[in-house]
């Protein structure tokens, strides 16, 4: 009996510690995790700077980040098709060898460390400034670190499930805000539309690109989805959903607070929430909304932390990352405490530091790994390759045609999404060129951009849906 119990304990311990081998999430979970990474980060930082640069046209600031994430999603799909069930760190080691792969992994780890430090401190400063004034900042940093330590013992599946619970609520609260703020909205505050200098629009787009670079952490979870097309569509759809919500929030900030005031606030989204005055009874709705937003922000931070742990263990060619969890979480806590002396420094780093880190290494890593993968594909053309990741295109055309009827195929929706994004760009470019002479063109450009953005969200949703259908049919 004692022997059986000991064996059971050993098996249970093995199941807990060997988490990485069995991690599987579906494409909806990956999409919502992506959306959470994109949207929850934007809630606390950057929006004031975007409004300061582009004023009433700040809501056009997410066009370049969307295009960038489309490229990153295509890159992840490409490499995970060649190396199924491998994460970005392992793929880098396979393609570039021990030293080259380790160098890339160290670059990625440095970025992930910086963004986890940034986000934990941001959350603590946010709580300290707005809610818990007399609580020491170190304690407010320690609490999320304990959450990280707890989730570090689990797997990405657990984070994805927690995100499944809270992200829909986050989406509902953001969508409801347009309804709740109806009595405060003045549409004229966004006029004249698209009259900001193109250089300002470019600058705000570039700064927003810095926060979009956070999506690179999903490279650490590539092994959790075996279908390359699922990875691409999930990231595309999640990113679009996240950016759609951020665009809506920015637009509401301009509608309610105007194009000048939010630029001077530290947390304009929180000020927007405070503007909800339905009745005297519902005057402090901000507390309720923050209780929904906090877990979503926590999910983002946990996902980044897990990517850090996975990267560290991959560097040592191990799958079990739980052994590093406690010391790394405590190390992250101490670096959070020592990294920033004031809120101004933190916001400066969050708003202007990310873009430099992202552009300094991500395009280089993408090109390097893509070229190495292409060369490897050529050299191993004759040799037997490992089984490639399944794609939606594997199913027989007849079977697929029967399932999808007369509607568009997966590739059709994919290119329609790309076309809608190009439409967004055309509307912004056209509006910027002619709106100074003809204000109506600017308004038409704004409406066209909004419609194309909504259509892109819908087309990426259809991509995910088509893949699900073809998987069910296959």
């Amino acid at each position: 009996m004692g022997e059986r119990a000991r064996r059971l304990v050993t098996k249970t311990h093995k199941a807990v510690t060997d988490v990485d081998d069995k991690q599987v999430i579906n494409q909806r979970q990956l999409a919502w995790l992506t959306a959470s990474i994109i949207s929850s980060g934007g809630v606390m930082t950057l929006q004031n700077v975007l409004i300061r640069i582009s004023e009433m046209d700040a809501w056009f600031s997410y066009l370049l980040p969307i295009a960038y994430i489309f490229l990153v999603a295509a890159f992840f799909a490409y490499i995970s098709k060649l190396f199924p069930s491998k994460n970005l760190f392992e793929i880098a080691q396979l393609l570039l060898g021990r030293w080259g792969g380790s160098a890339v992994a160290l670059l990625l780890l440095f970025h992930f460390w910086m963004i986890v430090v940034r986000d934990v401190t941001n959350l603590a400063k946010f709580s300290s400034t707005l809610l818990l004034h007399s609580t020491p900042l170190e304690v407010l940093i320690l609490l999320p670190a304990l959450v990280l330590m707890y989730y570090g013992q689990t797997s990405v599946e657990v984070v994805a499930r927690v995100n499944d619970l809270f992200y829909p609520l986050f989406v509902i609260t953001v969508l409801l805000m347009s309804l709740l703020l109806m009595n405060e909205i003045d549409i004229r505050l966004t006029l004249p539309e698209l009259t900001t200098a193109p250089s300002n629009l470019w600058s705000s787009n570039m700064l927003a690109l810095g926060s979009a670079g956070d999506v690179f952490i999903l490279g650490a979870f590539l092994h959790t989805i075996c279908n390359a097309n699922h990875i691409r569509s999930a990231i595309r759809h999640g990113a679009l959903l996240g950016f759609f919500l951020l665009t809506l929030l920015l637009l509401l900030e301009i509608f309610v607070l105007g194009p000048k005031m939010p630029g001077n606030f530290f947390y304009p989204t929180y000020n927007l929430v405070q503007m909800v005055h339905i009745t005297d009874f519902l005057d402090r709705l901000d507390i309720i909304i923050l209780t929904i937003w906090f877990p979503t922000i926590a999910c983002k931070i946990i996902a980044i932390y897990m990517a850090l742990l996975i990267g560290l263990s991959s560097l040592l060619k191990r799958h079990d990352y739980t052994v590093f969890n406690k010391p790394v979480s405590l190390f992250v806590t101490m670096t959070c405490v020592l990294s920033f002396n004031s809120t101004t420094e933190l916001l400066s780093f969050s708003n202007f530091g990310s873009i430099f880190i992202v552009l300094a290494y991500q395009p280089l890593v993408v090109v390097l790994l893509a070229v190495a993968a292409k060369l490897r594909k050529r050299t191993t053309a004759g040799a037997p390759l490992p089984p490639p990741a399944s794609t939606a295109e594997e199913h027989p055309p007849m079977q697929r045609a029967a399932q999808l009827g007369r509607k568009l195929s997966y590739r059709g929706w994919l290119w329609l999404g790309n076309g809608c994004l190009a439409g967004c760009l055309l509307f912004v470019a056209g509006g910027t060129m002619f709106s100074r002479r003809m204000p109506a063109v600017g308004i038409a450009g704004g409406i066209g951009y909004a419609l194309c953005l909504i259509l892109t969200v819908l087309t990426t949703y259809m991509e995910v849906n088509r893949l699900k259908q073809s998987q069910a049919g296959g």
Partner: protein
């Protein structure tokens, strides 16, 4: 720095070390090196905070060099 925070950190480090020690024995030496490096760095940072030593953090480079440059580039 809050005394609650310092005590919590030391207790957590001790607790982590005690619970991870059996696991570390079964792990290869490289894992132990990473584990003990992270723990030593954490203790050093804790001591630096307590005695007000000015340790160079990577974020300082970005805050003092990169961020003003980027901020100037975007016209702020």
């Amino acid at each position: 720095m809050s005394i609650t925070f310092q005590l919590s950190m030391i207790l957590l480090l001790l607790l982590a070390f005690m619970t991870d020690r059996p696991l570390l024995r079964r792990m290869p030496a490289a894992c132990g090196v990473v584990y003990y490096t992270a723990t030593t760095l954490t203790l050093t940072l804790l001591a630096a905070k307590h005695w007000h030593w000015n340790l160079p953090m990577p974020t300082r480079f970005f805050i003092h060099t990169i961020c003003p440059w980027v901020s100037g580039l975007v016209g702020l």
